[in-house]
Amino acid sequence: MTARRPLFGWPFAAAVVCMVAAYIRAIFFTPIEALQGAAQKIYYVHVSAAISAYLALSVVALMSIVYLWLHDERADRLAESAGEVGLVFLTIVLTTGPLWAKPIWGTWWTWDARLTLTLFLWFLTAGYLVMRGAVDDVAMRARYSAVLGILAALLIPFIHLSVYLFNTLHPKPILLKPDKPSMPTEMLITFLVMWGACTLLCVSLIGARYRYGVDRDALRALESEAGD
């Protein structure tokens, strides 16, 4: 038997260090935005977490397709891990969003296109994880999850289209646009550090959750052998 790898390895440690560094930089070494004041500082966490959430959910959708194609249980386990991590990041986005919106937009919540989409992504991911918990048979759970993952990916353009007619309060892209980013260099660097930290955290959490899944499934296999 091979030596057991720790769930949280050096990538997680690196992610935590980067995260702390990004926070310190955001709070103490980044200028305060002229119009929004200190409230704008939540931007670094909010946007980075949103990108990480989309990253994790893309993994779920991609692994769902891979599972239905190859029937490889590793794809299912990766989708499960990414789903859980995605839900955590979506929760961060949906918590930091209203906190930022209240002082700047004057409202906690508005049925704006991107808010609605994120909220429904949260519902879909939560439903996905609840369903995983409600099916006992391993192969059936994997197939059901993959089907749901693919259908959810198909649904997203429709929800987006549904709320498209509502005006969005969100600003136009600041970073990714044809000409150079409209943001001072210090802020840009802070954002990039935070973004890197978030991505590293996201990837290392998915990895840790994946290794937990491997251990759990191995344990279940041993238990069922012992039971027979």
């Binding site: 369903m131 099916v135 192969a139 089907v147 259908l151 429709f158 289209l161």
Partner: protein
């Protein structure tokens, strides 16, 4: 698509409809639930402050969504008793045909509910239905196809889980958002007597949803069965 596919789908649908026609309990129960819902909604807001015509499309589509869920729950629930599903799977028909047959039976069931609920809303909320009844039913049918396509698939999945009653609405409702939105917006445009062209974007949304999900769910259904 082979002609045999549609023929065997019709066999499955007529089996389900025959069971329903001979017992009739579910249809009547869902119908009473729908009309009760319409009546209860009337007490939930101040009729002097908000005109009924502003609220009616929302009421209609929320009630319809929930009564649709009730009827979808049964779709694969009836196959649980005596493991009837195994018999269905053993029969020499394609699995896609089972899905299409189930969906067709659900569509007839849900259309029957709509056929009574829409006049009930019109009557109880004093709506000026005027020139639009045919268009209104067409919108309703478009919405019902999308609802039934997704709902039938999730009904098949939820029936095999430990949380069937809870899981079906939890999985389906996010998928019903574009349907409810498109149908409710189209309905209120039509009821307000505005030109048909204004309702067209919402109809396009419904049609696109129907096509995409009818196709995707039919393809996905075989994966939800025992291998």
């Amino acid at each position: 698509m082979r002609p045999a596919l549609l023929a065997s789908a019709w066999l499955v649908a007529s089996k389900d409809l025959r069971i329903e026609f001979r017992t009739r309990t579910a249809f009547l129960a869902v119908l009473v639930f729908a009309i009760l819902g319409v009546a209860i909604f009337y007490f939930a807001w101040d009729a002097t402050a908000v005109a009924a015509i502003d609220l009616a499309p929302g009421v209609l589509w929320v009630i319809f969504t929930f009564s649709g869920l009730l009827s979808l729950q049964r779709s694969f629930g009836v196959e649980q008793a005596d493991r009837a599903m195994d018999g269905l799977l053993l029969s020499p028909i394609d699995r896609e045909a089972i899905f299409l047959g189930k969906a067709l039976a659900n569509l007839v069931f849900v259309a029957g509910i709509l056929l009574v609920t829409i006049p009930a809303v019109v009557l109880l909320y004093n709506l000026p239905i005027g020139r639009t009844p045919v268009v209104l039913f067409a919108v309703a049918l478009l919405a019902a196809v999308g609802l039934v396509a997704v709902g039938t698939l999730f009904s098949a999945m939820a029936a095999n889980t430990r949380l069937a009653e809870l899981l079906l609405p939890m999985l389906s409702l996010p998928f019903f958002v574009p349907v409810v939105y498109g149908a409710a917006q189209a309905t209120s445009t039509l009821l307000a007597g505005r030109p048909m062209a204004e309702a067209w974007p919402f109809l396009k949304l419904l049609i696109a949803f129907d096509l995409v999900f009818l196709f995707a769910c039919t393809l996905a259904f075989p994966f939800t069965l025992e291998e």
